[in-house]
């Protein structure tokens, strides 16, 4: 009962004052609803006209910058690739060039060696020939001197056997020379030495024999 009087009291009081506060909280005030709409409309206008376009522009610029950067990077990569290919081509070329030069050098070297060998051969031949000639000349000289020596020795021996000098007579009559010439011609065969040897050999052996005989006799 007290409860109900309470209600009437409050209702009466509220009627005199502002009852809006006692309204259920899920019932809107028109003023708040309308001003809410207006406030939101203002914010929406600001956001649509002033904020979002700028932000979208920044977004687009950023995207463009990133894509531009990527494109630049791609270009740089392509350039690097081109440079690499160029270098490789140059390297291949250089290798081929080097191989060619090496080949040439080898050929040139071979020809030089061949030439040098020919020259050396010729030189060697020349030197050999000269040496042979010199030897021959010295041999001739030796033969000549030996012949005169042999003649003198044999004459000496003969003189000692005979007892007087035969040198004058021998010189006058050319006995020794004739004998030697005959010996060389092969008309006379040395008696101590075995027959069959002729020519130079015979002559050489004769000389040898004469020498040994001389030595033995002496």
């Amino acid at each position: 009962m007290q409860h109900f009087t309470g209600i009437t009291q409050v209702v009466g009081l509220a009627a005199a004052e502002d009852t809006t506060g006692q309204r259920l909280p899920i019932l809107p005030l028109w003023g708040e609803l309308i001003f809410g709409l207006i406030a939101f409309a203002i914010l929406l206008w600001v956001v649509t006209k002033k904020v979002v376009p700028n932000l979208e522009k920044a977004y687009a610029e950023r995207t463009a910058a990133i894509e531009g950067g990527m494109q630049q990077a791609e270009e740089a990569q392509q350039q690097a690739q081109a440079a690499l290919e160029q270098y490789q081509a140059q390297l291949t070329e250089a290798r081929a060039e080097a191989a060619r030069i090496r080949e040439e050098a080898r050929e040139q070297g071979a020809s030089i060696v061949a030439e040098m060998r020919g020259q050396a051969q010729a030189e060697a031949t020349r030197i050999t020939e000269a040496a042979q000639k010199q030897i021959e000349a010295e041999r001739q000289q030796a033969i000549v001197s030996l012949r005169s020596e042999v003649g003198r020795l044999s004459t000496d021996l003969a003189s000692r056997i005979v007892g007087e000098s035969l040198h004058e007579e021998t010189r006058q009559k050319g006995i020794v020379d004739r004998f030697l010439a005959e010996l060389e011609a092969g008309q006379i065969q040395p008696e101590k030495v075995g027959a069959g040897a002729t020519g130079e050999n015979t002559h050489a052996q004769g000389e040898l024999d004469l020498g040994t005989a001389d030595g033995r006799d002496a």
Binding site: H3, L27, L29, W30, E32, L44, K50, V51, V52
Partner: protein
């Protein structure tokens, strides 16, 4: 009027206890500054316009010279903008149509977020969204937009037809058609507005209760109650932090659902 009486009776029942603790009532949220009744200029209206001015100033100031390399302010704005643009609009509406709804969703999100945060930020400490008129205003905008978009795309008949899932057995439609129409025209806007309002209203009420109760116990209570009062204040602190999380979450959910509804109206298939 009967509803008014009901509200008054609640008040009376609590007020009738005598000189004890006066628990906060829904009436506390009605704070007219100029005039009274439906068209009074109330505190939430003033807060609302302050928030719009603040948001507009901040957004314009940080994006007026929007550059590729952002400044600190632009970075903050872009973080929020990117979340709404890419995380909500693009992912939900799809990359083909999302761009024209980005301003709407961004404005919704920033407005709700700032007004919710006003609930715990001194010196305002008044969540505008706890006045049902404001969430209804925002919901009206969303409601109109998602129907307008659907009607523009499919025509009026097409839009209505679009709401009904095709390929069901005929008898089912007797049930489905009213259900879907109720969903699109009543449930969706109602829940959208009430969810935001309810969370802000209840959260603020809870904070009020803990703080006013704590204050009362601390001043008028015995020794034991004084300790309880301190506990009440501590709990109010914790709840304030929790409230901050809820305030962000509600702004996000409202924007998310708005995007979902728009996406539903734009979808090619049901």
């Amino acid at each position: 009027m009967s509803l008014n009486v009901l509200g008054a009776s609640i008040l009376a029942a609590e007020g009738g206890e005598g000189s004890g603790f006066q628990a906060p009532t829904p009436a506390e949220f009605y704070q007219p500054l100029i005039g009274q009744g439906d068209w009074a200029i109330t505190r939430p209206i003033v807060v609302l316009f302050i928030s719009v001015a603040l948001i507009s100033w901040f957004l314009v100031a940080t994006t007026r010279k929007a550059a590729i390399v952002p400044s600190k302010g632009q970075w903050v704005t872009e973080g929020i903008y990117g979340m709404v643009r890419n995380g909500l609009a693009r992912d939900i509406i799809g990359s083909r149509d999302f761009l024209r709804f980005v301003p709407l969703l961004f404005a919704l999100f920033t407005m709700i977020l700032v007004n919710n945060l006003f609930g715990i930020i001194p010196p305002v400490q008044y969540p505008t969204m706890s006045r049902i008129g404001v969430p209804i205003a925002l919901t009206l905008v969303v409601f109109v937009v998602y129907h307008a978009v659907g009607i523009r795309k499919n025509g009026f008949g097409g839009h209505i037809k679009h709401m009904i899932p095709p390929g069901l057995p005929k008898p089912i439609y007797v049930l489905i058609i009213p259900l879907e129409l109720i969903t699109y025209f009543i449930t969706r806007p109602l829940t959208l507005a009430l969810r935001l309002f309810g969370n802000m209203f209840a959260g603020h009420m809870l904070l009020l209760l803990f703080i006013l109760g704590g204050e009362y116990m601390l001043i008028h209570g015995a020794f034991g109650l004084k300790i309880a009062g301190i506990g009440s204040f501590l709990l109010a602190l914790v709840l304030t932090a929790f409230e901050g999380l809820i305030e962000f979450l509600q702004a996000y959910i409202f924007t998310l659902l708005a995007a979902t509804y728009i996406a539903g109206s734009l979808a090619d298939e049901h």
